[in-house]
């Protein structure tokens, strides 16, 4: 059985057509996307939950379709009518699409949304449920290494595997485009686990990497109010009274004036370094690093961010205020249902991970077997990393051509 079950029209257009015959009540759709029906009635508040629209036409001629807003229901992905549609009636199920699809006569009738786009590229992934079912078929049973296993155990190891893979093997696909507010802090994304990179975006869309502050400043975890003897003071409930961070306050107020050479010059591409310009000439007077010279980790003008673990926020240097930034980050792959998918290039590595984890966590397993599975897991994970690194020889060649350039010192 082939793995692709959608037609080209279903995949690209998100549409599937039927013809009424005066008898048939239910029309089964075969999209990869499950139909979501909040309500058939546009006046109902749940109508907005629908991920598709239904159109009918008596002729099937383009432009003759109108939205069907009379009663129908969805049972097991089949559109079910209370009364059989007339013989010859053209019925089209259109999943919501960014361009609204081909069938709506006007903006109100068009199926705007992104259910179709969400499914694009889905063939490069398998769902976690499918991976677990495949594992149970292929690796668990009589005559196999795992004679029997509880599905909850497999589920646990599969999810743990997906989490681990998300941290260092799978592609980092999460990014958020945000504007730095006056407070210079942004709440971490809901599914944030760690950052990959933060950049600010200039007027022409080029990204400039902004770096963590490292030793430049810190967001203190506790900011107790102290009495004159330096002892933290408590409120009526016996807990320490917390104030705002003076360190952060000073950082937000100070760094623009004291540390940056040209605060106003950041609107376009700006490659001025700290204390030194691109010609290696000394500039400025009160810059950080003046006494001991250039410190490479601070030799950039794009800006800084640091993590405020206490508040769960990212804090930015003040010249990034109102700037557009893009935060690339990793999650653990389990935050949302749509996240729980594994690139097919890492599918085998996940099976090897589960197999090793199950055998290694069991009593009385021969150590040579555990070690063999550990090596297999390692090798398959390394393969997955290489595959997902997306290294192409012609792209490497293109990069390596730059090596022939004369590098000035």
């Amino acid at each position: 059985m082939s793995l692709i079950t959608e037609t080209n029209q279903q995949y690209y257009q998100g549409a599937q057509g039927f013809r009424g015959n005066g008898v048939k009540l239910a029309f089964e759709t075969t999209f990869d996307t499950d139909l979501v029906l909040g309500s058939f009635d546009p006046n109902d508040i749940n109508y907005a939950l629908n991920n598709f629209k239904l159109y009918t036409s008596s002729t099937g001629i383009p432009g003759s379709y109108s939205e069907y807003i009379t009663e129908f229901s969805v049972v097991d992905n089949a559109i079910t009518f209370p009364i059989a549609p007339a013989t010859g009636l053209y019925i089209v199920v259109q999943l919501k699409k960014l361009d609204g699809g081909l069938y709506g006569a006007n903006d109100a009738e068009k199926a705007y949304g992104q259910a179709v786009e969400d499914n694009y590229g889905s063939y490069s992934y398998i769902t976690l449920d499918d991976a677990i079912d495949n594992f149970m078929v292929g690796y668990v049973g009589g005559g196999k290494l795992i004679q029997r296993a509880k599905k909850s155990d497999i589920l646990f190891f599969a999810k743990r595997g997906l989490q681990e893979f998300s941290y260092d093997t799978l592609k980092s696909v999460k990014s958020a485009e945000l504007t730095v507010p006056v407070s210079l802090t942004l709440a971490l994304p809901q599914d944030y686990v760690n950052y990959v990179r933060a950049s600010w975006i200039d007027d022409v869309g080029v990204k400039h990497i902004i770096y963590p502050t490292n030793n430049l400043t810190i967001s203190p975890y506790y900011t107790q109010i102290q009495d004159s003897k330096g002892i933290p003071t408590q409120d009526n409930f016996g807990s320490d009274i917390e104030g705002t961070s003076i360190t952060q306050e000073r950082w937000h107020e100070g760094n623009a004036q004291d540390y940056l050479v040209d605060n106003a010059g950041l609107s376009g591409i700006n490659d001025f370094a700290f204390n030194w310009n691109q010609n290696g000439e000394w500039i400025g007077y009160r810059n950080y690093g003046e006494l001991y010279g250039l410190d490479p980790q601070y030799s950039q003008m794009n800006g800084w961010f640091n993590l405020n673990e206490r508040e769960g926020k990212m804090s930015f240097s003040s010249h990034l205020v109102n700037r557009l930034i893009v935060l690339e980050y990793i999650s653990d792959g389990l935050a949302y249902d749509t996240d729980t998918k594994i690139p097919k290039m890492a599918e085998e590595a996940l099976y090897a991970h589960i197999l090793h984890a199950v055998i290694a966590s069991r009593a009385n397993q021969p150590e040579y077997l555990v070690q063999r599975l550990k090596k297999e897991r390692f090798a398959k994970l390394r393969n997955a990393k290489i595959r997902l690194s997306n290294i192409k020889t012609d792209e490497i060649a293109q990069v390596m051509r730059g090596k022939s350039k004369w590098i000035k010192h």
Binding site: D34, L35, V36, L37, V74, V75, D76, N77, D129, G142, G143, Q147, K150, K151, S152, L155, F156, K159, R160, L334
Partner: protein
């Protein structure tokens, strides 16, 4: 295919007569026959388990008719049924639909059907103990959902109760039911003799391959023993050898 109760009874009578061991009334026969049928039925489980363990040493064969594990599991087919269960809001669990037609022996695979979601989800449901259920459902990674439901067994007024989480709309339970007791039904003939009545009789549900074993086991209950110790020894050795051949 079932074993004819009439055939077994008449063979037993024939051997008893040949050995001059007296006569067995239908009531006596029916009682012993029920016991023997259940005894053979129960022997399938340790035997099947023993055969399944061969898989661990990769010494099981996969031929069409000589796979012993498959042969034993085939003998259970007459007792394998989809048993109807019904949800009760009072007990918040599923119990066997009344009136109970078959007496449950073992619960097999349980499928939970969630019909009020789209698409309809039919999930294999994992049987766990109550203690395991508490542990598994506390972990966010393994907490039951409608794709990975859990159930444990308890009882309500003495009847089996399946507690499935999350509660499905319906469940499909594959189970083994206990064998129906065989019955040699009869009418009284003109000479006062017992005349076989097929309409009032119930055949053995065991597979037809068990006919010889059934007769031998029933005869044991009626005291057919061979007094010559050498014959007993030879016979028991032969029986042991056969068993070894079958199970090795």
């Amino acid at each position: 295919m079932a074993v004819s109760v009439d055939k077994v009874y008449k063979t037993v009578l024939f051997i008893l007569n040949k050995e001059q061991r007296g006569y067995v009334t239908p009531a006596e026969f029916n009682s012993v026959a029920e016991q023997v049928q259940f005894q053979i039925f129960e022997s399938y489980f340790p035997d099947g388990n023993q055969q399944y363990r061969k898989d661990q040493t990769n010494s099981q064969n996969d031929t069409e008719f000589f796979d012993m594990f498959k042969d034993i599991s085939y003998k259970l087919h007459p007792f394998e049924e989809e048993v109807p269960f019904t949800y009760s809001a009072v007990t918040d669990g599923f119990s066997q639909t009344t009136p109970v037609v078959d007496v449950l022996y073992k619960i097999g695979e349980v499928i939970s059907n969630y019909t009020d979601v789209n698409p309809i989800i039919n999930s294999t449901t994992q049987l766990v103990s109550k203690a395991e259920f508490n542990k598994i459902s506390r972990s966010k990674l393994t907490a039951p959902d409608n794709k990975n439901p859990l159930f444990f067994t308890t009882n309500t007024t003495g009847n089996l109760l399946l507690k499935v989480t999350p509660t499905p709309n319906t469940i499909t339970v594959n189970a083994l039911v206990t064998p129906t007791p065989p019955n040699w039904g009869f009418t009284i003939g003109g000479l006062g003799q017992y005349v076989y009545n097929a309409n009032a009789s119930t055949d053995f549900e065991l597979d037809v391959s068990e006919q010889s074993l059934l007769i031998l086991e029933i005869l044991k209950y009626f005291g057919i023993v061979i007094n010559d110790p050498t014959i007993i020894q030879a016979a028991s050795q032969e029986a042991q050898q056969m068993e070894i051949n079958e199970k090795s």
